[in-house]
Amino acid sequence: MTTEELKNINVNKVVDARGTACPGPLLAAKKAIGDIESGEIMEVLSSDEGTKHDIPRWCEKMEHEFLGVIEEDSYSRLFLQKA
């Protein structure tokens, strides 16, 4: 997805994992994904650099669809769709 598309996407749940280091954001994502239904969109906020690589790999394994990332000044916004 393009950045424009991501910006306008309808997010069902936002997980703010800024302020935690590896594996914090992953654990936060894993916890939160249980709260949404299949096909819904989740956004993970992380200030941890590694998360940008981790979340796509996590999605791959859990069969969620990773939609893309928007970079902000001091953190990134990662979007995914629950399988």
Binding site: A21, P23, L26, L27, W58
Partner: protein, 181 residues
Amino acid sequence: MNEDFEKQFFELQKKVNKLEKGTKDQLSMVVFSGDLDKILAAMIIATGATAMDMKVKLFFTFWATASLRDPKKKVAGKDFMSKMFGMMLPKGRNKIKLSKMNMCGMGTAMIKGIMKKNKVASLDEMFATAGELGVEINICEMSMNLMGFKREEMIDYPHLNVCGVATFLADASESKVQLFI
């Protein structure tokens, strides 16, 4: 002809069952080292693995068993050697040191400060998270006996067992990932 077919079918079924039982999406880890950095690595991998929906089984042996002692618990009736070992070895996870650059405890104190600054969870938090996520901790009974530790002085952890090497081997043989730290 029909009998032959049936025989083949049962054999196939047996093979499929065996394969299904073969490897699980599971991580088995030997935690041997009692150093702060290595236990930290073990706990990060363990909690991370649960996020990947893996079952995690940790086998704490040798020096690592000291990190599972509860400093608040006292056990009576130890012999001289056990008492000596008990005194020499760190009493719990907050007393363990870095494997390198400890510098009489200065390095360890510094790394704890840096961890806090970088918002890395402390060992206390990691054990709490691991407990919530169902990470299993198995303690090697033989190591505990060698070091003179008793079950009663170990931490309160929801999934704690005392076992032998066969348990680890059985777990490891059906795990996709095995590690030794």
